[in-house]
Symmetry: D2
Subunit: 330 residues, 4 copies
């Protein structure tokens, strides 16, 4: 959910057009594994950028869809039966997978990427996973002679389609620079965070702070409203004082305080409770690995798990305001 | 701690000078009760504004000090032995007291303000107290024929001295307008929050959100640093993304990330842990009165109480970062 | 909710019968203020014990009911229009009121008990209130020449009717001994806790620990059941090991694990969520007054407030198990 | 820390003597992997029970120590260079390892147990690990034709030496019965919890409830003591009422309330803060896997992590009382 604040510009589209004019043939081959809701759009943007693609996904329908989209851009898309087969062909590999075990399997299993990766290939994992796993995986990859960056994204399905994602990149300066050109085809802000694993660390830390701040705003707004305060006046004062934060001034959780935010359209169309719970689960696991106390973060996770247990898992994460307030008729 | 963000200007000082030129004789008498660290400066600023003062405090030394300061401004300061005696003389009364019981006693006890208050006097309580108590007290005052606003402040002792405090005012529009002129002599931002009690509600809600956000930033920064992140880079990313907040971009709790904040000078000279715990105690009590859940807020209070139990009560409230991080040698 | 574990015996009833045979005329007059659900039964038991009663309550119907019941025991019940009028007649006064402000008003207001209390009268407040208030009130009473104990109860309406309540008594040894005789007419376990206020401290501390333990059992049972464990087997192991506690072995929160507990009858007929929240509110307020951290206790309070916000305030407090578990269809 | 309550008897020792009289030659060979503080004693007890042993550990010194101890019992101990080599020889295999990754490696890596396990061998993992991992591992083992139970222990190093451990066993009835005979040589209470993985579930759930109850008792005792209560009196009332629990009546965290508990000897010699944090970490991870909310359990973990960050990781887990109370001079 990081840098949703980024203003969408048309600059990128113009860049993309420039790139399209060069011929596909001269561009390195990119492998893409994981054509889910976001991955399918990201792969299409790479094809639009002129890269011949070789893709892998267990779902054949989505592969067909990506091929079709790519055809519109004159792109060439090949299908590989396994990550191994894909790795043998690709100079760059992008992975976009649901969780740490999926990533480990795709990279290190018998038919995984590492069983056939080219020397000097650059691997980019855009999944959101455990920072410790990311760090360890990068070591393993480097031992195999290939290069790797972790590059988790924010910006959602909308940003994936529009090519305006933010990538938080962890890896050496050299690897970051190699990755940047390709990531620019899929995103707008490409941020170098530090060594391998630090992209994941930044994403997890950002969303940890974000979740806590959102709940803090929700608690304070609900308390004020319970005492008869007009939520717009209360938010207005927060926003010019020390309680000011993105969750209050850009994404306020109280219906009607701001237009065009999930709270004002039934808590739909944002960053879901279950997704936030997943990220807080990663934060919790990371914090526990280094014994860093997160007294509010762990409580935030429990709260989102409770909301989910009560059926609110698909709502936007600002729905916590609704969960805290007095239920009118249940 | 609200609106510490306000940029200090010299405008006010100019206003004060204008006012000083008018003669004291024509100004209404102001009573001031509670000449503590902040109250003494606030009273001096009223005297500087040309108002004849009658003051009450149990500590005679501080009374002498206020008299002396006022003399410098040509001001006239009288001493009243009881709130009752003071109330008999004053057209406006300002109170600045440590807690709800003190306020109740000063207003409603046998020798309290209400036993002798003038009809049409305007009472302004600038203490930070329980919103429910404030609301009830305003009713009692109105029944006695006088007018009342609650007007808790933020800005600290420094703001009290400089006359740059922020006042969050609860009361009718009419009473707010009457109060505003006087409050402008002591502060810079005079914010009308709503009906009686709402000044207290806003202050308590703001500081509730603030405390949670600060701890959220501290947890996330500590987690990142534990994973080897450079705190400046991490804060930089927060500040341009969805974790952005005042506690991160204006008052960062990690030493060295920003100059001129308490964290970079040994957590001194800000808003103390014990003061934040006091405000969170009011939030907790208010939330409990209306049964509004504050799962993170209550945890924030416990954390500040733990820091205090471990000897950190006088440190700035951003010291929570230090408390969470691994202690090097204990 | 303390000492619900007490086995009900018939011994008390026999004592009561002995006492009834002595004549009312020789017994001291007892004043009773607060004839609510519990108070009405407690007063009736005093009448049955042979004491002439003078009662006060704002609700006249309940006064009539107590008179009628007392008549069945040959008892004499008088009505007093104010606490003052009652105090002028009584040698012992029992108060049973909803909260601290009610208690303060009944004792210290213009027409309160203290305005007319007899020298050497013994006042017994059986309400559950803030320990600090109880301690301060005892001091005020002692200054007036009367004696006082705080004696909050547990055992519920059922225990009030059966005369099997537990009283936790705070006061000097001498006052405790004077109180004991009378309290034995209404209860079974009369526990001396220490100086004035300590009855309230014990009640609040017991229920603080109890609430936390109950939630702990609920969390652990729900986690086990989520992993497919048979709750009876899991509870059985807890009960013979280090997780053993009253909330697990006597009042298990999982439906079907034990017969005759609220969990096995739809969470009805026990100690309600709202009552537990009230006691946790007192614990929270007391803890804050002395800055004693209660990280889990404060979270327990928030959880019960959330349950109440979601409509579960009247359920037994073991309902927290139901609130935590996955909702089947909502 | 489960079933520390078990009274130690001499019965087991007598059984062991009976068994010793039979000849080692007729007993099946047992493999043992992981000769740490507890494992070394457990292996020795198996040798004493007359089983020829083949052991594996990376630390050669500890292997020598076990050989020497076994010699005292006429036992035969062989050393295997890898789990694979060990598995080729053993009919029963016991593993006692620090965490999930170690267990996975020992069982499933290239030179792991499964690469050479005998058909019908019975594998017993006595490590405390993630329930989900345990469940998955059992499936993998069963596919290889061998049998498996998870059997985490409680009772500590003392119980390992005395042969009085408690084993919580997960697996089919048949496998449980096969395991029981062998586990009896190392422990006293062998509890069948259910299907594979349920031993781990029970251990994790028990310690989750235990940690919460301990902190609950610590908070309530500290609150009472802060109000001047005698801790012995307070504990006494808890122990006969609804706050009664093992953490209060058997392992009270307040120094001086009970003899012979860690609290009365400087919080030494019990179950360490870091070990409890490890188990709460497993609980947290398990709870998150099934999205079961543990609002107090997660807070308990954070509290133990904070205690550890402040240098108390080696103290007994009842040290939380000390951490919460006002520090006299820091």
């Amino acid at each position: 959910m990081l840098s949703v604040v980024a203003k969408r510009s048309t600059l990128l589209r113009q860049n993309v057009n420039c790139i399209r004019q060069s011929s596909s043939a001269s561009k390195p081959i990119v492998g893409f594994i994981g054509l889910g809701n976001m991955g399918a759009f990201m792969a299409s943007n790479l094809a639009r950028g002129g890269h011949p693609l070789v893709v892998h996904d267990l779902d054949h329908q989505v592969v067909e869809k990506v091929k079709e989209r790519a055809r519109g851009h004159g792109g060439i898309v090949d299908y590989a039966k396994t990550p191994k087969e894909l790795a043998a062909k690709a100079d760059y590999i992008v992975t976009m997978l649901p969780s740490s075990p999926h990533v480990l399997s795709v990279y290190t299993s018998e038919n995984g990427i590492l069983s056939a990766v080219k020397k000097n290939a650059l691997l980019m994992d855009t999944s959101t996973i455990d920072p410790t796993v990311a760090r360890d995986l990068a070591k393993t990859v480097h031992q195999s002679g290939a290069a790797m960056v972790d590059a988790p994204v924010s910006g959602g399905v909308g940003g994936a389609e529009a090519g305006t994602l933010t990538f938080m990149v962890g890896g050496s300066v050299e690897n970051f620079q190699r990755a940047e050109t390709l990531l620019k085809l899929m995103g707008k802000n490409i941020v170098h965070c530090g060594e391998a694993g630090s992209g994941q660390v930044v994403k997890v830390c950002n969303n940890l702070a974000l979740a806590i701040e959102m709940i803090g705003v929700a608690e304070a707004m609900n308390l004020g409203v319970s005492f008869g305060m007009d939520p717009k006046i209360l938010a207005g004062i927060f926003n010019t004082s020390s309680a000011r934060c993105w969750s209050s001034d850009t994404y306020n959780p109280v219906p009607g305080v701001m237009p065009n935010v999930p709270a004002s359209r039934g808590y739909t169309g944002g960053f879901g409770v279950d997704l936030m719970a997943k990220d807080l689960g990663l934060a919790s696991s990371a914090a526990n690995a280094v014994r860093a106390p997160i007294p509010l973060g762990s409580q935030a996770l429990q709260l989102y798990n409770m909301i989910s247990a009560h059926g609110g898992g698909k709502k936007d994460f600002s729905f916590v305001y609704d969960f805290l307030k007095k239920q009118s008729e249940k």
